[in-house]
Assembly symmetry: C2
Homo-oligomer: 169 residues x 2
């Protein structure tokens, strides 16, 4: 908290008045970052997903956001009933909403059907993979983003094709 207060140029007591603990401050900071993300309409689910994954990579590559997020996950494991619940309430719902925005648009466009996609699973796959690449195994560079997009596009292809076949039979 001391470092944060010094960086922000405020007294530690000011910080503590607003965020009673480091965890509250980290939850607030990560939530504020999520709130900044704008999910523009790029005309197709593939283009929306590319923009969303690129944005997740940009955010989690930043050590302060990626590090704060990973630290919150570590604290969630230590205190699932306290920090875990705060993280779930504050961050999971935002993440779900971000992914759901693109998915709803794709359903409206007639690109996919609602029962083809599990929004929560998709959120875990996108954010989990990008975070793991950013912090554990390497850089979420363009080749990685391309690979992840190709993987999700193949899932959509397989599901649409299965539906076409079912309609034909």
């Amino acid at each position: 908290m001391e470092q944060v207060a010094a960086k922000a140029g405020v007294a530690k007591s000011t910080l503590y008045r607003r965020w009673p603990s480091k965890v509250e401050l980290a939850v607030h900071a990560v939530a504020a970052t999520f709130d900044e993300i704008e999910i523009d309409d790029h005309g197709s689910l593939a283009a929306d997903m590319r923009a969303g994954i690129g944005e997740a990579a940009r955010l989690l590559r930043d050590p302060s956001t990626g590090g704060a997020y990973a630290a919150l996950l570590a604290e969630s494991a230590r205190d699932p009933g306290g920090v875990g619940v705060r993280v779930r309430e504050s961050l999971s719902t935002r993440l779900h909403a971000l992914v759901a925005t693109s998915v709803e648009r794709a359903i409206d466009r007639g690109e996919i059907r609602r029962d083809m996609i599990d929004v929560d699973l998709l959120a875990d796959v996108v954010v989990g993979s990008v975070m793991h690449r950013a912090l554990a195994t390497g850089e979420p560079d363009e080749a990685f983003v391309d690979g992840l997009i190709a993987l999700l596009a193949d899932v959509a292809y397989a599901r649409l094709r299965r539906e076409q076949r079912e309609q034909r039979d």
Copy 2:
């Protein structure tokens, strides 16, 4: 370190002799957990992946393993040149090897071709998604594991079908 020493019933100095820091101890503990995983041959890539994802879910659901892993990712963000390199060297290589074992077997069986799969990407998708579900968004329960398997199976389906079509044309 004090708590670990108490739990193990040894002097703190004994711990410090072997692992000069908490980070070294955590890297060692997570690496040892990975080394325990046995990748049995289940007869097909789908069955191998199901066993691997189930194992990842079991391990990361355990707060001590999941928490230690997330804490290492947070430290990697703080110190990419130090802790980050240790995590990459010690953990990423093990993860890659675990996924590669199943993939090599599937190639030998003739189920997939080497150029259809990016082993590093697959490792990030599996471990990242499971970790994110375990620590951020909920429980990596059976429905989640089924959903992740179905997603990867659809990727394999799409790639095999594309190859068949290319061979036909």
